[in-house]
Symmetry: C2
């Protein structure tokens, strides 16, 4: 049995997220790619993804694996799927991996990027690809705040309510704000994240940038271990799964 | 009577073009902006645009003017329309102009940009914003060919059949290819263009880049004064109205 690893890019705008959702009408990305692969290999496949992104969330570097007995060379998959998949889902690369490889369980590092656009007026092209925040932000206070995310913490305050997980401790190895003209990026790396964790981190950083809280308040919010003490969940369409490492 | 000039940006993907089309179902950009302004000034307005872009064509620097007796300060229009117009149409600036100003008749220079993306695989985010051409192109031959467009020529070979215009002579003051990583831009400036002129220029340059014709063939095609001798009309979604000068 072959195990094939895919590198996947998608514009999440038109999808209900990576996986099917009982409560959402619409297309899920996983199902569309599985159907595309089925057309090539002539049997059902099941994709395991590194990150099950939500509705509207984008990916530049999603990774998923699937099993097949097909003899199609791995490098054919991107080319053949180009003609099968919709334009907003692109398989960028494919390779054979050992049979025990699992895209989610074996990920050692995942990096998300959140995009904030700060120009006064919106951009007709970019509105689905970033969060437009045209008000003043104290960036140096936000940069100090981001540093409090580094290290191992109980992130229960930064986890959406109703999440079924029971362990809330996560280790963040990078939490950095990057300026690029009108754009402000928040890049965050960890082995694993809680549900909505990055978006709640961003919503909290924006509250600090606006002056509602100070950088040090991150420590207080982490210590509370209750969702209601953190900031709002930032909009999905600013979030990108950038890179997964193994 | 006040005359107000607007600078407008739009993503043309979801529209049938700038103006209403009897043969197309769908929304036109002009009608949507006119309806938005009507909500502000409480009377019908009619926009004159510098370029009446086709379905799928984008604008970074469309210019239009309209007449009103409203006392709303010009600089309020971008801000107020931000809350009225859909996200993919943005009025970037507005100012009062003399009563005889007409956005189309008084334009002294219009610049269009055509975007070709040359990477091997498509991009999930960019497919609506450029023409993906992943095959080899002889760029230096295309650059030589572009130079033959400079100056005053009868551009009948580069005008869509069925166009009602009777004068085909146009003066091109810039026709330049620009490399930027995976992207190739064709920037072309003239006082006025014929129907589909830029897209037929691009379709012809691509034929030259592919090796079907040589740079010198531009002279031959211009001399023929018949549409069928030029290359195909390049896809609309690679084209941007970049800038209009007065």
């Amino acid at each position: 049995m072959r195990n094939i690893k895919l590198l996947i890019e998608y514009d999440g705008t038109n999808y209900i997220g990576w996986q099917s959702q009982p409560s959402y009408q619409g297309k899920n990305i996983q199902g569309i790619i599985e159907a595309g692969i089925r057309k090539m290999v002539h049997h059902e496949v099941r994709l395991n993804a590194a990150g099950r992104t939500d509705a509207g969330v984008h990916a530049r570097g999603q990774v998923a694996n699937f099993f097949t007995e097909s003899l199609i060379p791995a490098e054919r998959f991107p080319w053949a799927l180009k003609g099968i998949l919709p334009y907003d889902i692109v398989v960028k690369a494919a390779c054979d991996v050992p049979e025990d490889f699992h895209a989610r369980y074996h990920a050692t590092e995942k990096t998300y990027r959140y995009v904030i656009r700060r120009a006064a007026l919106p951009d007709a092209f970019d509105w689905k690809y970033g969060y437009h925040f045209p008000y003043p932000l104290n960036i140096s206070e936000m940069e100090q705040a981001a540093r409090f995310f580094l290290g191992t913490h109980d992130y229960r305050s930064f986890c959406a309510k109703g999440s079924p997980v029971k362990k809330f401790v996560r280790t963040v190895t990078r939490a950095e704000l990057i300026h690029d003209g009108d754009y402000l990026y928040f890049d965050v790396t960890a082995k694993g994240f809680l549900y909505h964790m990055v978006r709640i981190m961003v919503g909290t950083l924006v509250e600090i940038g606006r002056g509602r809280w100070q950088a040090e308040d991150i420590k207080r919010i982490l210590a509370k271990k209750e969702r209601k003490y953190a900031g709002p969940t930032a909009l999905a369409h600013g979030l990108y799964l950038q890179e997964v490492k193994y």
